[in-house]
């Protein structure tokens, strides 16, 4: 065993330093949409790389190509592996999309805080609202709640995408989520499409149509414009900012609040986030 693999006395769970990654074997790649793939990773000798909590992130690196922070899309209740759903949009993600099962990458983490699944969310009715690739961070929470179904009330999932082909995790949504008692899935796509008999329209307008009561906690993730209008809609429905959670995302290098990149005022998104309640977001200077 190399020096790097010994657990660090300073940083439990990490091998010596939080900046040193583990080697991860890609054991499966699923094509979700034309530009999103889900990568399953394990230790080369088998087993999970580390334990994480729903909402936490990890740094994924291809040596010589780049390294970036991604939300862990698999639930901690999965005991065998971790998954990342990654959209092709830059140098590193382009390279990842060209890789195959059996290839090795580097992963370090987990980083950041998590959705309060064992405290503030426990016993609550939950409303998940996601747009596009932003389902990735919510999927870890949704599956955590589904695997601990008795701890949560009614679960509504409102998920929208540009087209039916851009819906991530469609198989799991249709086969698992839609068939779980007490779980209501509301899918929508931006424009009509042949073969789609579901709802058509943007997520914020569908949210208004669905007219949820405020006896639930909302978890909202998506592109900034979607967040803005959904938040407005939730406010109109009477939701308090303390009832709505989201995740923020900024450029990160270290993942531990030291490299100076991802701060918004006094908060570091990598360390103090990525999960924030909207009353906490309102406290931040307008620079995100």
């Amino acid at each position: 065993m190399s020096e790097a693999m010994h657990e660090c006395k300073h940083n439990p769970g990490f091998c010596r330093d939080t900046l040193i990654p583990q080697v991860a074997l890609i054991t499966d790649i699923r094509t979700e949409t034309p530009d999103v793939k889900t990568f399953r990773v394990e230790r080369p000798e088998g087993g999970k790389l580390f334990e994480h909590l729903p909402g936490q992130c990890a740094m994924v690196c291809v040596p010589g190509v780049g390294e970036a922070m991604f939300s862990i899309t698999s639930s901690p209740t999965n005991k065998e592996y971790q998954e990342f759903s990654i959209k092709r949009c830059g140098v590193l993600t382009e390279h990842l999309h060209s890789m195959n099962a059996g290839d090795e990458i580097l992963v370090r983490g987990p980083y950041g805080n998590n959705f309060p699944v064992e405290t503030e969310l426990k016993g609550k009715n939950l409303l998940f609202i996601a747009g596009g690739i932003a389902l990735a961070p919510l999927r870890s929470v949704i599956n955590y709640c589904l695997d601990n179904r008795e701890n949560y009330g009614e679960i509504d999932i409102l998920y929208g995408s540009r087209s039916a082909d851009d819906l991530v995790q469609r198989k799991e949504i249709e086969e698992v989520w839609m068939n779980t008692p007490g779980v209501n899935v509301h899918l929508t796509i931006d424009r009509p499409q042949e073969g789609w008999d579901g709802h058509v329209g943007f997520v914020p307008s569908y949210l208004k149509e669905l007219a949820f009561d405020t006896n639930r906690t909302a978890i909202l993730c998506g592109p900034p414009i979607m967040i803005k209008f959904c938040l407005q809609g939730l406010k109109e429905m009477g939701f308090a900012m303390e009832q709505v959670y989201t995740t923020l995302e900024l450029r990160m290098k270290c993942g531990v609040g030291k490299c100076g990149r991802c701060n918004i005022g006094t908060k570091y998104v990598c360390k103090d986030g990525p999960v924030f309640r909207f009353d906490q977001v309102d406290e931040l200077p307008n620079e995100y």
């Binding site: 190399s2 020096e3 790097a4 660090c8 300073h10 940083n11 990490f14 091998c15 010596r16 330093d17 939080t18 900046l19 040193i20 990654p21 583990q22 080697v23 080369p44 040596p63 010589g64 190509v65 780049g66 390294e67 949009c89 830059g90 140098v91 993600t93 090795e104 580097l106 995302e249 900024l250 450029r251 290098k253 270290c254 531990v256 609040g257 030291k258 490299c259 100076g260 990149r261 991802c262 701060n263 918004i264 005022g265 006094t266 200077p285 307008n286 620079e287 995100y288």
Partner: protein
């Protein structure tokens, strides 16, 4: 209190170097910076401020983190060896010693940066009081006493003697190694020198800057001030201020292709640069005004908010001396003071 003749310092440095790596201010090509000592080094204890701060000794401008090699298609990671030998940094000024305390709060807070922690564990700081503070100095504003620096050993140059006072266990250990070269001394002469230093500082133009309104509260009260828009304009985004600063800690992590593997290293970076926060999907600080505001609010508001009110400026004045646009933290502090906001 101990002392050694200035003319015997070469012998002292050689003695220290027997058991420790030694770094001290060395003049090369007309510029003085901290560098490794050797017999031929042009040691310069007269220049008040080295061009770069001595933070390199603990947080190097560039350092390896680990290397990746491929063996039969498998990736093998080898972590960079941590500092495990003692080293001495001689001649650090009071402001720069505080600068290290500022970095400590970043790198030694959870999760601990082990590269930095190992250097702090093995590094011995021999500080050096400022005989002749300059007009760009304003350390007093941050409660730093240039006549009585912190450090494992504190030294003063009085006349032709260097006075030596060990303050910590590490300092005493180092003192024991060089004890044969040191003689007992009268502390009264040091006290007189301190009086002289403090009276110079009292009269420096920026020694009485008001920090009123700065600190944690400024994160909210001064973020949206129109003053930033007026102030930032001469900023060239060159990043000089961040590279000479003893407290700037922003870093980048990059890969170096060695030809048969990849070496991952980190190096200083600057929040003043336009690509610092750029992502594939956007950038949250697109204007130089935003980047300028980030740097100064970090020093004067965000850092204090997260560290019990401690400022992450130490008043060394390097940015005052080096900014090509004559823009610096003193101007920022004054601009807000004038407006009384």
């Amino acid at each position: 209190m101990l002392k050694i003749k200035r003319s015997d310092l070469g012998t002292l440095f050689a003695k220290i170097a027997e058991n420790n790596e030694l770094y001290l201010p060395v003049k090369a090509a007309g510029k003085t910076n901290f560098a490794a000592w050797d017999q031929d080094a042009d040691v310069d204890l007269d220049t008040l401020k080295t061009v770069k701060s001595p933070k390199d000794a603990f947080f190097p401008q560039s350092e390896g983190l680990y290397s990746c090699d491929r063996e039969e298609g498998k990736i093998k990671i080898t972590a960079e060896k941590l500092q495990d030998a003692p080293f001495v940094v001689f001649g650090i000024r009071a402001c720069d010693v505080r600068g290290i305390a500022v970095l400590d709060k970043v790198f030694l807070s959870q999760p601990v940066d082990t590269y930095y922690a190992a250097r702090r564990e093995h590094g011995i700081i021999v500080s050096y009081a400022c005989g002749a503070p300059e007009t760009s100095c304003f350390c007093k504003v941050f409660g730093i006493d240039a006549a009585q620096p912190e450090g494992d050993v504190v030294t003063w140059m009085v006349g032709e003697d260097l006075y030596w006072d060990a303050k910590t266990e590490k300092g005493q250990k180092l003192t024991a190694q060089v004890a044969e070269l040191l003689t007992e001394a009268d502390a009264a002469l040091v006290a007189a020198e301190q009086e002289k230093i403090r009276s110079i500082i009292e009269k420096l133009p920026n020694s009485h800057l008001s920090l009123e309104g700065w600190g944690a509260e400024a994160a909210k009260t001064r973020f949206d001030s129109p003053i930033w828009e007026q102030l930032y304009k001469p900023c060239l985004a060159c990043g000089t201020c961040t590279f000479v600063c003893p407290t700037c800690q922003c870093y980048d992590i990059k890969d170096y292709d060695t030809g048969n593997g990849v070496k991952r290293y980190r190096c200083w970076d600057s929040c003043m640069y336009s690509d610092f926060t750029m992502m594939a999907h956007g950038n949250n600080r697109t204007s130089q005004m935003q980047r300028f505001r980030q740097r100064f609010l970090h020093k004067l508001a965000y850092y204090p908010a997260n560290n019990d009110g401690m400022f992450s400026c130490v008043g060394c004045g390097r940015c005052v001396d080096k900014c090509p646009s004559h823009l610096n933290i003193v101007k920022v502090i004054k601009a807000f003071g004038k407006e009384g906001k």
